[in-house]
Symmetry: C2
Subunit: 714 residues, 2 copies
């Protein structure tokens, strides 16, 4: 433990080299201050270290997306694709909010955003390293060590959430060297306020996804409501708007190439400190296999929906999800090649070895990488089997439901602290919501066709990676087809009412149902548990060495390092800048309304609303047009370092005003979860001037402009 703290002190006082790359914690900001001043920040950079101050106090999480408060009455701005669930929830065939967009002209017209929609306001980040890993006996086995870490974390969460109204989390930073507990106020009454028409909010669709030049109006507005006592409450007509302590001022002049920008948000996951061996396995196995599986599964799902509209709708969101994964993974896979990621990791490790050899006080790091590599090998030894198991669930929402219900029946009888994370009492409402939500995607014929593919994949697994309970079940049935015949003929898992009942049944009750899908879950679960135990062993062992590895990297680099993304609040700094995606081509950093005219086809993915086109053609842009460009900027590129989870993040200019919303990275950047190339890596923002212009000249959202302190011009 002492070791950990000593290390942190070193990290915090190391020399900051550059802020160009990095997802920085608020605590690290003071060290970056000189660099930020050099970049042109126009307010005291140390303000960015204050989690609950201005501006960070206005930066919030929606769980999976980022967002920010932009009015004293709890108005929230985020991406269109982050507010999409609320649009979907409120749409009916008669009132198609997705296509037409939505604008509440009064508070009364605002619509509940749906039961799952939350606003999380981070109120506290505490160092709990001591309480997580400070009391671990060195005598613990690897598995015991991991169990103890998990238990300590659960205890810390329990303690934190006891007063109610908050959601807590204990997360690992710097490869397990530091543990922080975050407390978030959890606002449960969230309402839909405004979203532009689909032809603006999703302009470009799948074709433009990850692409530059981009012209997407990817914003929507929600509002946070609380009880009259100011505390989080379930939806009620009597709730009142939440009054955040801090809000962001929306900039009323646009960014220019070279301008400094700051992005604050909740990036999900990166792999900047993974070893060469770990990355190699991802490159050679994980990414290609997932690409193959997602491709084949989508072919199957598309085929199923070909002549049946109901089936097509049921499968649509899964197909869309797989497509997004595919484009991302294919881009990342070519990024592995383009950026030479593995070679760079190998070089980093060779440099580290040389450093250790040359520095006697670095001797403690010797052997650390070898230990990690051995652990990685152990994971890799069953990677084919583990991937098939994962995708069996991915291919079959019915099997997923059966597995979850069966597992819940195993965990429920335990004491809450002993339950597996995700199955604790605090998780039950979400599990129930998930059961309801799954119904939309359950389509037995598609389910069977998808599962069939992975049964065939399972049948091809090498001898030392067989899924034995599955082999036995298939063999007993007389082959894959008869097995599937029996499986789908003898299950009620597709029925929501049945599943609701199952969710509170005991393992014995579930067994007594003789439901084929539940029986399959029961047969597979012991293997799952065995894998979990193995993974705990590995995680426990890793927790002894990975923090040391990070420390070695930091010490040898002599630089301030940021921790990998883990879904907590981070900041990244950059400049508005274009890039050369390939020889002979330069992408300029700002797109304009002209590009909308060029791309628009009045149909499909490029279907801008007629009134927007008219506003562009009639040059109704006074007050919003960029003087240099002669028209309104739509999206812009910057060098900030972001990943999934950053969607909806406010982008601030040097004055700390909201000048854009982060919503995507460029295709050429993919690979940036592993490596950042300052020449190529770019994030995509929607320009706040475009947002304001549409709100004023196209959608007539004058009430919201006024609420944000902006005088409408049209």
């Amino acid at each position: 433990m002492k070791k950990a703290l000593a290390f942190l002190a070193a990290a915090l006082f190391a020399v900051a080299a550059t802020a160009d790359e990095g997802m920085w914690m608020p605590q690290q900001i003071p060290q970056l201050a000189p660099e930020l001043q050099k970049m042109g920040i126009k307010f005291d950079p140390n303000k960015l270290a204050d989690l609950t101050g201005d501006p960070l106090g206005a930066v919030i999480s929606l769980g999976g997306c980022s967002a920010s408060f932009v009015s004293p009455d709890g108005l929230v701005v985020t991406n269109h694709h982050c507010g999409f669930g609320a649009l979907q929830y409120n749409s009916t065939p008669q009132r198609d909010l997705i296509t037409n967009g939505f604008l509440a002209k009064t508070r009364e017209e605002e619509l509940p955003a749906g039961p799952g929609q939350r606003v999380f306001v981070t109120t506290k980040m505490e160092d709990v390293t001591n309480r997580v890993i400070g009391n671990l006996s060195p005598k613990l086995s690897d598995a015991e060590r991991e169990k103890a870490i998990q238990r300590n974390g659960k205890l810390l969460v329990e303690e934190c959430e006891k007063p109610g109204g908050v959601r807590c989390r204990v997360a690992s930073f710097f490869e397990g060297a530091q543990w922080l507990r975050t407390t978030q106020m959890e606002i449960r009454d969230v309402r839909l306020v405004y979203a532009p028409p689909f032809g603006i909010g999703d302009f470009g669709g799948e074709t433009d996804n990850w692409m530059w030049p981009r012209h997407t109006g990817d914003w929507s507005f929600l509002r946070a409501y609380v009880g009259k006592d100011g505390k989080p409450a379930d939806y009620s007509k009597d709730n009142v708007p939440y009054h955040p302590q801090h809000i962001l001022k929306v900039a009323t002049s646009g960014v220019k190439p070279g301008d400094m920008v700051i992005v604050a948000g909740y990036p999900g996951r990166t792999f900047r400190y993974r070893t060469a061996a770990e990355v190699k396995s991802m490159k050679e196995f994980t990414y290609p296999t997932i690409i193959r599986y997602a491709t084949d599964l989508n072919t199957i799902l598309r085929e199923q929906g070909k002549s049946n509209k109901t089936v097509e709708i049921a499968n649509a969101s899964r197909i869309k999800g797989n497509d997004n994964v595919l484009k991302n993974y294919q881009g990342t896979l070519s990024g592995f090649q383009k950026f030479g990621i593995i070679a760079q990791r190998q070089k980093r490790e060779a440099d580290l070895a040389a450093y250790i050899a040359a520095h006697p006080d670095a001797k403690k790091y010797a052997g650390v990488l070898d230990t990690m590599n051995a652990l990685q090998q152990r994971i890799a030894s069953t990677r084919q089997r583990d991937m098939v198991l994962t995708w069996m669930e991915r291919s079959s929402p019915m099997f997923t439901q059966a597995m979850t219900i069966y597992r819940l029946s195993i965990e429920r009888p335990k004491k809450d602290l002993d339950r597996r994370a995700g199955y604790q009492e605090r998780d039950w409402p979400r599990l129930a919501e998930g059961t309801v939500r799954a119904q939309k995607s359950i389509e037995p014929a598609s389910d069977r066709a998808g599962l069939r593919y992975f049964l065939v994949e399972a049948s091809k697994l090498p001898a030392d990676q067989r899924i034995m309970p599955l082999d036995a079940a298939v063999q007993k049935a007389g082959g894959v087809e008869p097995f599937l015949d029996q499986l789908y003929a003898n299950t009620k898992i597709a029925e929501l009412s049945q599943r609701k009942a199952m969710q509170s049944e005991t393992t014995a009750q579930l067994a007594a149902r003789h439901d084929a899908m539940l029986d399959l879950a029961a047969a597979i679960t012991p293997l799952d548990l065995q894998i979990e135990n193995r993974d705990e062993e590995i995680a426990g062992a890793m927790s002894r060495v990975r923090p040391l590895y990070f420390e070695a990297l930091r010490t040898s680099s002599g630089r301030l390092l940021y921790p990998d993304a883990n879904g907590t609040l981070r900041m990244t700094f950059g400049t508005v800048k274009g890039y050369a995606p390939r020889d002979g081509v330069y992408y300029t950093p700002l797109t304009t309304l002209n590009g909308i005219l060029q791309k628009n086809t009045y149909s499909g993915e490029f279907d801008a609303p007629k009134n927007e086109i008219q506003a562009i053609e009639s040059n109704k842009t006074a007050g919003y047009a960029d003087p240099q460009l002669g028209t309104v900027a739509v999206n812009f590129l910057s060098t900030v370092d972001t990943t999934g989870g950053n969607s909806g993040s406010p982008t601030l200019n040097a004055n700390g005003e909201l000048c854009g919303l982060l919503f995507d990275g460029t295709y050429e950047s993919l690979g940036n979860d592993f490596i950042v190339d300052p020449e190529i890596t770019r994030s995509i923002q929607v320009d706040s001037m475009y947002m304001l212009w549409v709100m004023d000249a196209v959608d007539g959202a004058h009430n919201l402009l006024q609420e944000m302190g902006i005088t409408p011009k049209f």
Copy 2:
């Protein structure tokens, strides 16, 4: 006649406004001189007015392509795609010069470029306006007038070619206001000297055709040979290299963005002075119909070749030709939209009408446009039928041969001056060559499948545009299929020996053969003649008004105008400059070796030779690399105004040195046969530094470098 001369004087002394757009005649250069000096020309621009001086004396035509002399021993540089016929002619399955390229290390190794290959050196351009249109009685009917113009032209050609060794042509300039006779020395012994491998010369293939960024090494070298007496002669071992009076010096330093460039060559055809009505008909009918026909014909031809390699090869060059047309026409069609070409023409005509109304001395132009529009309407009234007739021939090489043979039998008995142009004695050798060449593309099953499509198209023609002799023939046979059965069962036109015999037979002898394809030609020819007569009438009428229309445009614009391209020697001036093809994207004006690495796949259209890749990867570029770029420039963009026929044109820098070879335009420029947009219109050149680098570092063409006065570095 006096009118014409007066007009010319006016044209020549008008104020030169800008040289950015225009395919200028040598005679116009003195007027452009101040502008060229402003652009940065570093030699006396008036030298460009001298057809037989330096540098124009070195600029030659290959008939369809342009080229230039680059050594005192008649070494010619042109595009790879212009020298392609010579590679094809000399390739065998055992010796695949197309794929591997070719380099003659000695004169003895040089190969005959093929019977059709010519080098044309323009030696004289004379104003013959007087002799073409100066003696026409105003009493002539429209048709008589056109016949007289054609006869005058043929007389002038006959007179010019009498001494032998030259090819003469009378061409119309400024919409028929001026007529010039060009005399070209016709060198008939042309040999293949050097071409890079296909993976350099055609790098990018059809995918990159018309595209930027581009990385094509589109050059090849030929050599002109003459008899020992210095006069053109047929191929003979005893011939000696031709010694041109002027050669171009190849630049040994590259161009930079902003540099002035000059392109001299033989552009084929443009439509800059066509009326709005003419252009509208092209946009609404000609282009979409040809796109449809070429698409459908290629689908048919590809289907035919699917399972038969011999058929595939026979159809390959026709398919490639149609593909090139397709990409060009589709680009042009979108250019009509993008550049608003019709609206611009309408504006030009409205401005002209306003000018005429406001200027009493412009009264003579009143009504001119109305007359032209009425004539255009007459052409448009049968455009569907005429298009089908044209494509019947295009679809069927066998029918084309039958039509040509039959027509020759009609023309042969006439006096030479009365024969239709193309069927005069001077044309007979070329017709004979064409018969032989056609054999490669004759494949009866594909021929029938293509012709069938257009018979069906013919059957759908409106009542007032029927091809009556065809209707009668099909009806007599009992429908399209039985008609085709009989047509292909009863013809010997597919046999080369038979066609050779037919070429000297009389109309009666051909009839006596009872060959079904010849009989079809005999049935269709009267309609063809009738259309020719109609077209002569219209041309005669047009020749009274079109020169006046041009004069009106020139007078009202007050600017120096260039004549539309007509296959004669022209110059165009511009600068090295990139462009923005669409919002958010800028194309930089130079590509580099890096792009070859990025695009290369070692297969298909991107199959750069291994030794080139090695040379790039090992950075073997000293002496050729651009200091700014840090590597060798491959292709570059410039604002010069070019079109088909300019391929192979030397591109000169401000010192008059050859700094590149023109080989393409960009896709976004398409539409430039009608309009030039200085923001978008760009031509593509291969950089001479890339050519020299490949010759030195990759292909080892050190003998040729030395011949051009350049010391090899590797």
